[in-house]
Structures are given as C-alpha cells and as structure tokens.
C-alpha cells in the first residue's frame, strides 16, 4: 500500500486555502488542511473538506466526444482535435478570425489560461476572449 499527501490549493472560492490531498494506491481518500497556510491556517469549510469527492465521480468525462447523427459519441483524441482544428481553420478562412470566440475560465490554472489566450490571439487572431469574471 502506498500513501501519499500532496500539497495543493482548493478549487472552490477565491480564498485560496491550502490542503494536502491524501491518496492510497493512486486513489484519493481524504483531505488534511495545511496549518502553515497564511490563508486558512489549518482550517477548511465544508466544501474544502470534501473537495476530493467530485474528482473520482463516475460521471467524469473519460474520452473525447463528437456529435454524430445528433448524438455525442466517444472518439479518439486524434479524431476530436483534427475535427476542431479543421473546423476552426475553415471558419477563420471564410469569415475571418473575429467569427470565433473563446471562453477562458476562472477554474483552470494560470498556465492553462495563458496558453488559451495565446492560442486565441496569436493563433486564431482574435481578441474575443472573456471569462466569467462578471458572474
């Protein structure tokens, strides 16, 4: 049996509490708040204490999906990404970069957001980038 505790940052509100994700043999089993964190100082709210549960939900998406005959069906990464890249290229060529929009996210990391807006601005060529800062 291998036990691990990995220090990380809570995915819920803007407080940014720190905790350790506890795993046994690669499966999350619990959370321990970080006493050294200047934000939460060893405490957590009810959402923080349970922030490992949804990660292992059986409803998590397992594979890419493509709509075929009106239904979303599993697809390979190659098929899904080629389909999206091809579709975007065609639309940009026909209607220009501003015919594409991108929603960035307050849930993904800084690095994810940086790469996403870089792709939108330098790749697609549009400033149509926004996220739910207002919501």
């Amino acid at each position: 049996m291998s036990y691990q505790a990995t220090k990380t940052t809570c995915p819920y509100c803007g407080c940014g509490c720190n905790f350790y994700l506890e795993s046994v043999d690669g499966r999350l089993v619990g959370i321990v708040p970080d006493k050294s964190s200047p934000v939460n100082q060893g405490k957590l709210c009810v959402k923080g204490w349970t922030a490992f549960e949804f990660v292992q939900s059986p409803r998590r998406l397992q594979t890419p999906l493509i709509r075929k005959n009106g239904e979303l069906v599993p697809a390979s990464w190659d098929e899904a990404l080629d389909f999206v890249a091809g579709g975007l290229k065609k639309i940009v060529k026909e209607s220009g970069p501003r015919s594409v929009g991108v929603f960035a996210s307050a849930k993904i990391t800084n690095e994810d957001n940086y790469v996403l807006q870089k792709f939108a601005r330098a790749g697609i060529g549009t400033n149509n980038v926004d996220h739910c800062a207002r919501l």
Binding site: T8, T9, P11, C13, G14, C15, G16, N18, L21, S23, L28, P38, K43, C45, K47, T50, E53, F54, Q56, S57, R59, R60, L61, T63, P64, I66, L72, L81, F83, V84, A85, G87, K89, R98, V100, G101, V102, F103, A104, S105, A106, K107, T109, N110, E111, D112, N113, V115, Q117, R121, A122, G123, I124, N127, V129, D130, H131, C132, A133, R134
Partner: protein
C-alpha cells in the same frame, strides 16, 4: 474591477486577507462572507474578538448579521445612494482626512458637489435605512484608526456595478482608509482563479498583466514574444467581445464558432433560455470540461480536461497570492491537462507551441507580465507570492497603494444614484435577488457530484418571507412558481425572515430550478456585468 482600476490604477483586492484581523472597523457590503468566503469570515470574527467593530450591510438578513455590531438592511440596488449618504455625514461633521485628499487624490470638488445632494433624510427615503444608522456608519468608519471595506457580487452584479465600486473607493479616499495595513477596498473574488484568469489576459481588452490591446507598443511586444517558426502572427487590432456580446453575435450570425473551456454559460449567465438559443446557432461549439455540463450537452465536440487534483500549475487567489497546484493522482480515463489539449489543438491548427511543462509556461508568463516577473515555480514553495513581484529577489506585495496609487493620484468620481434596470410593477410586483448556498458552488458541477455536499442539499429552493407565504397560501416546503419577463421556475419554499416580505431569493446551483432562467440581461454599460442581483418577479403557489 474596472471601477477600482479607474480610481486607483489596479483592479484587485488592495490588502491581504489576514490584515482584516487587525482592523478596528470592517464595513461589509454585498458579501455573504460566511457562505461564499468562509475563511475570510473567520477574520471578521477574530477582528471582533479583538475589539474591532463589524458593520454588515445587505438587503438579505444573512447570518452574518448576528455577528455584526451594526446590521443595516437597505433596499436592493440602492448602494450608491447609501454610500453617498455616509459620505455626506462625514463631510458635514468634518471627519474627512484633509491631508490625504490634498496630497493623494484628484477630482474632489466635483465629487463633493454630488455628495452634497445626499443628506440623510433623502438617503433614508431611497434606501429604507434610518438616519441614525447612516450617521453611526459614518462615524465608526471615518473615526477608526484602521477601517477596511469588504465587498462582493452584491455590489458588482448591478447595472450600476462600476458606480457602486467607485463609491466605495470614494469612501476610502475621503477618510484616508487606504494604502495602509488593515485598510483598503477589498473585493472578494468568487472563484479560485478568477484573479489569475484576469491576470493572464482572459479578457477582451487586455493582454496578460492588464496591458491594453489598443496600445501599439504593447501589441508589438506581444507580436514579437509570440513569434513562431512557420507562422505569421497577426494580432487583432481592436478590443474583442465580452461574453454577453459573444452570445449576441452568435444569435445574430456574426460569430460562427465558440470554444468554451471550463465554463458553463447555460447555467451561469442571465436569461438561460436566451443563452441556449444563442449557443444552438453556433456552427461549431467546442466544450472542454471535466463533466458533461449543461453547456457541454449542446456541443459538437466535447474535450475531457482533467481536474485540479490531476495537474500541475498555479492559481492566484483573491489577495493576488500566486500558489501552486500539484497533481496528486493520475488523470481519469483519457482526460488531459487543459494546457496540453490547447497546445495540441494549436499545433494542429497551424500555430506551433512546444511547452514541456507548466513551469516552462510560467517562465514565458514572467517574460511578458511585469506583475509576475519575479515569480518562478521554485519560489512558490511555502506561502506563495502576492503580486506585484517585479524581480527574482522581491518578496511580493502585501498591500497596494502605499505612499502612492498605482496610477499616481487617486481619482474621486461623482456618483449619482440610479435605480435598477427593472423594478416591480403590477404584473411582476416583487423583487428577486440571487446568490449562493453554503454547501454548493456556482453551477453545481463540482458540488452536486460530491456525495457529502449533495446529501446536505439535494434540491433547489426559494427563500420566501413568512408573511408572503401566508398571503399566497404556501406552507414551508410547498411548491412556489416564480415568473419574470424571461421565464419561469418552480421550487420548494424555504420560509424565512432572511428576506423581506417584498423579496424572494434563489440560487443558480440547480438546473431544475435555475435562478438564471429568471435573471435580467441588462448590463453595466462599462464592464458589461449583468444585473443578477435585482429584477422584478411574480410569486405564486404552484
């Protein structure tokens, strides 16, 4: 954030969370802190235990009122009038900080001319707050050695959201309660990385680090930084569209493709039916998420990203602290970190990207983002670093605007009270307001898939005052129908004195009773924030 950026030059929490503990007065307005930001609420309790005073201002009788030295229940959407009334008293009594106004600010005279129009008698009529309470707030806040303002979406989610924020900034400058420890104007940000998403340029008008897309020198800098072999970078010369404008453009056929990463606009945006209608018109709708959200169900292609527990990177919290996120387990199924998916897509699109890891991405971020220049992954062990952090040996910045505002002088803006876009009338005679419940979060994607939280609150509900419940003949737990000009929902009544007799409250956590079926799409004219917090509604037994 635009309100604070215009006033002070930086749109972020001015001080850090832990400084609240040492404030003498904390003025909390439009923030249900114990529900939405529990670990900030602990600082309010501690400040009080140390002898500080907490003032809570909210149209709903939130639980925090029981921990307040003064609780004030104003009418929905009258924040700017209330703050003007407080400032009127401060000026009338001579409690303003003349030295601070003189040396650190501009625009005072025009501002004063407007505030002079808001004597407590008039403000009391507009807001429903007693003249005595207005005077008490003015005296406590102005006379405190260190007073902090804490606000949240109750201030910003209005057609007057920017005005409301500028009003709070005015209050802090008038009394010199800014630029020192345990003072300042502190917006609590609702999502773990909303600060970071803004910092990284996830906005239509700025590149990373709030550098304007309309500035030619800035554009040249990014054009050079983002050069890649075999690809001609051609940057958009104009400001892009906000989310409400993108939905409008989709609806009118001016936008053909939408790539949504980690958002659920069907649930989170106002007027759900309108959002669905707009998204249905996209020729290519791509949604990248960890669950099959209500938005993903409408997509042509769904890409499985992995969760925070399965990837490396950083989040920036509400006090600008950049902190590490670390992979604890392997991604489920074939899901992948979002940056990897986007990079793979970019390469297939034709724009080459070859980052090896999030640490390498951060190195590029620090090259183009002055506030992050001194940040590296190896420096983020321990407590993280609050930006601005300009150099590799800089410790980060605990509070902003010491000695001088980021933009130089702080600007007073004269703010007139404007009523909400939609007010009750004979057909829709009551007020509707929205917010969060303590065990759930935003659109419920994560919390409703967490068995412990789901068990605590499996269904949506409507908060209804006992008098109103009797009037329409609804028992606690009975079914209530809410209708607005946008749509109608049915949910169980939670009969409670938290809401006044003329007001109901709903959340947007539950798709089967989503408050955003009802909410108004009317926007603040500057930042385009929708008026989630106020609209007119009809309430009936169902």
């Amino acid at each position: 954030m635009a309100g604070l950026a215009a006033t002070f030059g930086s749109g972020a929490m001015t001080n850090s969370i832990d400084e609240l503990t040492d404030a003498d007065v904390i003025f909390v307005i439009g923030s249900n802190t114990p529900t939405a930001h529990p670990l900030v609420a602990t600082r309010l309790f501690r400040a009080r235990a140390k002898g500080g005073r907490v003032i809570v201002v909210d149209p709903r009788g939130i639980s925090l009122r029981k921990q307040a030295d003064l609780y004030v229940q104003h009418k929905l959407g009258t924040d700017a009038a209330l703050i003007n009334g407080i400032m009127y008293v401060i000026l009338k009594e001579g409690w303003e900080n003349k030295a601070f106004i003189e040396s650190r600010t501009e625009g005072f005279d025009a501002f004063r001319a407007v505030v002079d129009q808001y004597p407590p008698e008039r403000v009391s009529q507009i807001t429903g707050v007693s003249e005595q309470d207005i005077r008490t707030m003015a005296e406590w806040y102005a006379k405190a050695e260190k007073a902090s303002i804490v606000y949240c979406m109750g201030i910003t989610q209005h057609t007057t959201g920017v005005d409301n924020v500028k009003s709070l900034a005015n209050l802090s400058m008038l009394t010199g309660q800014i630029g020192r420890e345990s003072t300042g104007v502190n917006p609590l940000r609702g999502q773990n990385n909303v600060q970071g998403a803004c910092d990284m340029g996830g906005l239509p008008n700025v590149y990373p680090g709030y550098q304007p897309v309309l500035n030619e020198a800035v554009r040249e800098k990014f054009g050079a930084a983002w050069k890649a072999e075999g690809w001609e970078v051609s940057l958009d010369q104009g400001v892009g569209l906000t989310i409400p404008d993108m939905l409008h453009a989709l609806d009118h056929g001016e936008m053909r493709a939408l790539y949504v990463v980690g958002e659920n606009p069907v649930m989170s945006d106002p007027d759900q039916h309108h959002v669905e209608q707009a998204l249905a018109k996209a020729e290519l709708l791509v949604v990248q998420d960890i669950f099959l959200t209500e938005t993903a169900r409408m997509a042509h292609v769904v890409l499985p990203g992995c969760s925070y527990a399965e990837k490396d990177g950083t989040f920036s919290n509400t006090e600008r602290r950049v902190q590490r996120v670390r992979a604890a387990v392997k991604p489920v199924g074939q899901s992948r970190p979002d940056w990897e998916i986007i990079q793979d897509l970019s390469n297939r699109f034709g724009y080459p990207m070859h980052f090896e890891s999030p640490a390498r991405i951060m190195e590029e971020i620090t090259q183009v983002t002055p506030q992050y220049a001194g940040i590296r992954f190896d420096r983020l062990e321990g407590e993280g670093i609050a930006w601005p952090c300009p150099t590799l040996d800089h410790p980060g910045t605990r509070f902003l605007h010491k000695d001088k505002f980021v933009k130089g002088l702080g600007t007073f803006f004269p703010i007139e009270f404007k009523p909400p876009a939609e007010t009750p009338d004979p057909e829709y005679p009551m007020w509707l307001t929205t917010g969060r419940a303590h065990v759930h979060y935003h659109t419920g994607t994560m919390t409703r898939n967490s068995p412990t939280l789901h068990a605590q609150m499996p269904d949506g509900y409507v908060e209804l005052n006992p008098a109103k419940a009797r009037e329409i003949g609804v028992e606690p737990g009975g079914s209530v129908r809410l209708s607005t000009r946008r749509g109608s929902i049915t949910a169980a009544a939670m009969v409670t004195e938290r809401v006044p007799a003329d007001t109901v409250f709903v959340t947007f956590h539950f798709i089967e009773a989503n408050g955003n079926v009802l909410t108004n799409t009317a926007l603040d004219p500057i930042v385009k924030i929708p008026e989630f917090k106020v609209c007119a509604v009809r309430v009936e037994a169902a």
